[in-house]
Symmetry: C2
Subunit: 432 residues, 2 copies
């Protein structure tokens, strides 16, 4: 199954109509941006770029796709012929994956004919809206964890393929591992896991369950201690595994008090190096609330794979410039109430003072002269239909994760406040 039909019907019927008016081949510039951050957030993190480049490279209509479109009379035979030959041959630039973004940051810029570019709208937005929503939420959790490792464990709380994307996006944003095996295989994200309550309940006693797990996985494993009674389970865990027990996991209860009590108990049993991992419906706020508690690591599920209240990044894909009948470039923009946007080709830079970001400066029209205080934000991602290799596969995921760390390090302190507020830096337009 190709990804070509992961597309809104109107993309194809617009091509149909544009072929009729002879304008389908007009050179165009489309831009992906978010009009706003989720309410009160200070910054967003771009994610999904590497995944998207893969999908665009492979975006083809196979015989099955074409047959279905023909049978359902979605487009005319002329357009079907055009779709049969389709591959994207244009160029794409954009923010690096892992980059910080703000309202109106043009995170992806697609140069191509109207038809070859408009057809990518649905797919591009599906990938970037979901993945960036996850990465943006995940980055806040990473900040809240203040250096302690976080694992993504939310596969069961989002669509089965989105789960893989979420694991990848959380890793880009600084999570250390995922429970999702496919994310390990496809994107090189380290995988981890403990055990479920079902494993304890399968056995005739908790002790027997712990013994099975330690025999199979070694004493470095993590034992789940809240199936029945936490203090009893901790005692059993150390008795079975010894003081070399890797970790215990707590998945319920009043966490700060619980965690402190478990730490005291582990220490009193001599298991001073046994770590405590907590996994009970955490989000950036509950993680922050555990800063003073002796937690060694976090596992986060629902809140990270659903963007912690904001499961879509509200990015849009807009035509901002096109050739006119005389071959000249014309800036275009919708003028609707509350949704007006700025037309024209953009050249965004991050303005830096003393190593700290102070503005998202977007030059409209001509590019600015190079300036040591302005870090250019657009880089080539796809040239003549071929992705730039650095952004692909597990390698690209790692590159994105590294870039995220550098981009985050540039932000002013107020970016890391969890409370609602304005974007950490303003977006400023400059017309050249």
């Amino acid at each position: 199954m190709t990804s070509a039909l992961l597309t809104d019907r109107y993309e194809l019927t617009m091509i149909d109509a544009a072929m009729r008016s002879g304008l389908h081949d007009r050179e165009c510039v489309f831009e992906v941006f978010a009009r706003r951050l989720p309410e009160g957030r200070r910054y967003g993190i771009v994610a999904g770029t590497g995944r998207l480049l893969d999908l665009i490279r492979d975006f083809r209509f196979d015989d099955g796709d074409l047959d279905w479109l023909r049978d359902h009379a979605v487009v005319t035979p002329t357009t079907l012929d055009w779709l049969a030959d389709y591959r994207f041959t244009g160029s794409i630039s954009g923010y690096r994956e892992g980059e910080v973004y703000f309202p109106n940051s043009p995170i992806l810029v697609v140069d191509g004919t109207f038809a070859e570019a408009v057809i990518l709208e649905t797919l591009a937005l599906s990938v970037l809206n979901y993945d960036s929503a996850i990465a943006s939420a995940a980055a806040r959790m990473v900040s809240a964890a203040d250096g302690r490792p976080i694992a993504e464990m939310g596969s069961r709380r989002t669509g089965e393929r989105s789960a893989v994307a979420a694991a990848r996006a959380a890793f880009v944003a600084g999570f250390g591992a995922t429970s999702n095996l496919e994310a390990g295989r496809q994107w090189g994200v380290p995988t981890m896991g403990t055990a479920a309550h079902a494993f304890t309940l399968l056995h005739d006693s908790e002790e027997e369950a712990f013994r099975s797990q330690v025999e199979a996985l070694g004493s470095g494993t993590t034992l789940l201690v809240d199936t029945f009674d936490v203090p009893k389970a901790v005692e059993t865990a150390v008795r079975v595994a010894g003081t070399g027990l890797g970790a215990v996991r707590i998945d319920s209860g009043d966490l700060p008090a619980q965690v402190a009590a478990v730490r005291r108990q582990l220490d009193s049993l001599g298991a001073v190096n046994t770590k405590i991992t907590v996994t009970n419906d955490l989000d950036e706020y509950t993680i922050a609330a555990l800063r003073a508690a002796p937690v060694d690591s976090y596992g986060v599920g629902t809140s990270v794979v659903t963007g912690s209240g904001h499961p879509a990044a509200s990015m849009v894909y807009k035509l901002v410039s096109r050739r006119d009948a005389a071959g000249e470039w014309v800036a275009v923009a919708k003028k609707s109430a509350a949704k007006a946007s700025v037309g024209g080709r953009k050249h965004p830079v991050r303005t830096i003072e003393d190593g700290v970001a102070v503005a998202e400066t977007i030059y409209v029209g001509e590019p600015p002269a190079p300036n040591a205080d302005e870090r250019p934000l657009l880089v080539p991602l796809m040239v003549d239909g071929e992705p730039v290799a650095d952004y692909l596969g597990a390698h690209g995921t790692g590159v994105a994760r590294t870039h995220r760390a550098a981009a985050i390090a540039e932000l002013p302190d107020q970016a890391f406040r969890l409370a609602r507020g304005e974007p950490a830096i303003p977006t400023v337009y400059v017309t050249n």
Copy 2:
């Protein structure tokens, strides 16, 4: 690529450990349920069942999967051999797809050995949590629309594969169509579309754009009238397409006032049969607020594919019963604070009085005697590893949609209040 690695790592390591203790073959009953509805909702709609049965039937580890697991030492060679031969051979019963559910309704019951059943946990929850979240939100929008058609247009606001599932789930819940072509192909959901602002902006004038669209798609098409100025666009639309224009779409602005003005203008131009469709960030509340406005149909995007604030249905997959060493069935349950659940095999029925549902009655232990006032809720979905055909493919999607209408019709009036409140009927346990 198989779906076998869309699985949390711990499912496989638990099998590893259970093989070590010799308990992997213990017969078990796992149950999927939600401890609660999203805050203030009155009922939920089960969706994803047909998709899940497909995925379970095809759940196999191919050579690529096994090689990756071996190379990363995820499980022992013995477990790898077991995985190589894996297919689910147990039985699954559950609520019909499209059924209404309440807190603790056992919507899926999986009978099999520990190992063959636990391995399906992640996949089953990914599918049911996402799809049911979408269907549950969509059903409220359908009620709010009060008979006027709604189309799902949110593919761009959720992961690219989740978009297909969302289109399907919204259709099960009563939406009439989707913009997503793959959902049309794979699940038989009717597809539809209009045009984007980019199409208007591609042309040298709005009039030229409308003319292209009408020439290509006929005067029955829907013209987007809010790119520049709505009254001018409506005038142009009728001039270009004639009074037989199918519809106009409004995607921005203050909808109730805007819609009324457009209706008056269309009527004054003689386009009395031209319909008005609105698509501006709608959810169940804004749809309800448009009841008095002359809207003919709705297009809903972000809010439906993200579950209108609740993108995951909080369903869990729990071991509730298993054989003991003597071969007897033992009810089991976790006892943790705030997450305690009821062990044992359940026999849920919907208690009906005068045609109206009054309780979700869950018999625990033995099944109850048949009773005309109790509609049994569990039906066979998979027998000895083979799905019951009625739930599969486009046919199954249609069956689910029909069942949803019947199940909704049984609910008391308070189920359809949009305001926050208690579940429409109580969940009552009866121990037999």
